[in-house]
């Protein structure tokens, strides 16, 4: 009888292929790691209220808030985990946490 083949995505390494000492021989791997799907609430910015102070940018623990060309700020939702710190520190209440899928 033929040996049953375990179905496995080819991209995943076997134990023989596992990296030595759990070291990945390149930098910046976290760039491709989507943490945005951990989120339950997303930050929504009311640009009319934003005074461009940058407090959200400064306090974001994930460093996922970027400055727009017009000087306002916005979270990169690929990384934003929805912690809500930006909404909390905004002195003008310009950021509202809105439930995903609502």
């Amino acid at each position: 009888m033929a040996k049953k083949q375990q179905v496995r995505p080819s991209a995943l390494p076997t134990w023989q292929e596992a990296s030595f000492g759990n070291v990945l021989p390149y930098a910046g791997g976290a760039k491709d790691y989507k943490t945005g799907d951990w989120r339950t609430d997303k930050p929504v910015v009311d640009k009319a209220k934003c005074i461009k102070c940058g407090m959200c940018w400064l306090m974001c623990p994930d460093a996922c808030i970027k400055e727009n060309d017009d000087g306002t700020f916005e979270a990169n939702l690929f990384y934003c985990k929805g912690c809500g710190i930006c909404a909390n520190v905004c002195p003008k209440d310009a950021i509202t946490m809105v439930e995903e899928g609502a």
């Binding site: 995943l12 390494p13 076997t14 134990w15 023989q16 292929e17 596992a18 990296s19 030595f20 000492g21 759990n22 070291v23 990945l24 021989p25 390149y26 930098a27 910046g28 791997g29 976290a30 790691y33």
Partner: protein, 391 residues
């Protein structure tokens, strides 16, 4: 030309680290630390050793600093004991997971509560599954030899794993014995420079200690397990080369008057010396008794165990760490598991004792052999007895 000098066990470990020309020593310098680190600090301070001595604020930080130093390509040494060993525990797994060849001397002590400072293997046994290579020394010469050889083994490109050298707290660490020290040139010829394939390097950045999800963790752990098991031939090869160069040969399990013995007693660490005298007395009385000393604890030397117990009928395993609420002592349990299905004809008895520095005299060791034989004869091998307890 070698020198024969009086050294306590702590100084023997420190002397080996000094002769290995370590680059970094990171340690918490206060209780429960031993003279090992005090001596290392002296070597650095008086210029005998050119190394960075980092006196950190806790053992957790000590092992974390060792992690960084070893990863940056420095030959790294530290030491600890008992509660301090426990405080490092989390980081022990990180260092072995990253396959960094840190060498650590541990003077084995009981752990609180009750608060104490005396020797047994309660601390060492907590590290059984940390992924470190581990060896137990039976005298001060072995402390020096195993520590020196540990650097060569740990840093071997086929190994690259951290190494713990265990010594009995107080009865070895604080007792002076004659130790033969080699010349520095002999050590230099034995120990090549350390080179890690993924050394921390800002010009060639890598990702260290990354998160592993359920889809990848098991494969990494299996690779680590196989990696540890595959070090056994390298350990034997290095110990053999050590023997050729320095005249002292070691094996994962060493035997004493074990040939043809019906009953073997298995001992770990310094009490093997006491057991030898007990075996001599028993032999003089005509009893067929021999001793096997377990040196290598990780990787567990399965084949060496099978070879050592060949021909024996009874095996009495002596253990120095309580396993509260469990079936046996930690070494007794592992030896039984290793023999299960392989040597079901061999009767194995477990005896516990010598906790927290309690002295075990030769006569009591004779009692260990007698009681072990009685357990084997009774067929109640699940029984584990403790010697030297009042009441």
């Amino acid at each position: 030309m070698s020198r024969r000098v009086p050294l306590e066990g702590s100084f023997a470990a420190a002397e080996a680290a000094k002769m290995a020309d370590v680059d970094v020593v990171a340690a918490y310098p206060i209780t429960p630390q031993t003279h090992i680190i005090e001596r290392m600090a002296e070597f650095v301070n008086n210029g005998e050793l050119k190394a960075a001595f980092i006196p950190v604020e806790s053992e957790h930080s000590a092992m974390s600093a060792c992690w960084g130093a070893s990863g940056a390509g420095a030959r790294t040494f530290t030491a600890t004991a008992s509660q301090g060993f426990f405080l490092m525990h989390e980081v022990l797994y990180f260092v072995s997971g990253l396959r960094l060849p840190v060498v650590m001397a541990v003077s084995n002590r009981a752990v609180g509560l009750p608060a104490n400072i005396w020797g047994d293997y309660s601390d060492a046994m907590s590290a059984t599954y940390t992924g470190w290579l581990q060896v137990f020394a039976a005298n001060n010469q072995e402390i020096f030899d195993f520590t020196l050889a540990a650097f060569r083994i740990a840093e071997d490109p086929r190994v690259l794993l951290p190494f713990m050298v265990h010594m009995d707290g107080f009865t070895l660490s604080h007792v002076v014995e004659a130790v033969v020290l080699p010349e520095q040139e002999e050590v230099d010829a034995f120990l090549p420079p350390y080179k890690h394939p993924y050394v921390f390097d800002t010009d060639n950045p890598c990702c260290y200690g990354s998160v592993m999800s359920p889809t990848t963790y098991a494969e990494v752990k299996k690779a680590q397990d196989i990696g540890i098991r595959e070090t056994l031939p390298v350990i034997k090869e290095v110990w053999k080369d050590f023997g050729k160069r320095f005249g002292r040969y070691y094996n994962p399990i060493d035997s004493y008057k074990a040939d043809g013995a019906k009953t073997l007693i298995m001992v770990t660490g310094g009490l093997a010396e006491t057991a030898k005298v007990a075996v001599d007395k028993k032999r003089a009385q005509g009893e067929s008794v021999g001793l096997i000393t377990l040196h290598l604890w990780r990787p567990f030397p399965f084949e060496d165990l099978y070879e050592a117990v060949k021909g024996a009928e009874n095996l009495v395993v002596f253990d120095r760490a309580p396993t509260l609420g469990g079936p046996t002592g930690p070494i007794i349990g592992e030896v039984k598991a290793a023999l299960f299905g392989v040597r079901n004809d061999l009767k194995v008895a477990g005896i516990l004792g010598a906790f927290c520095g309690r002295i075990l005299e030769v006569e009591e060791f004779e009692e260990v052999i007698d009681r072990g034989n009685a357990i084997c004869k009774s067929g109640r091998q699940e029984m584990v007895e403790t010697v030297g307890i009042r009441g």
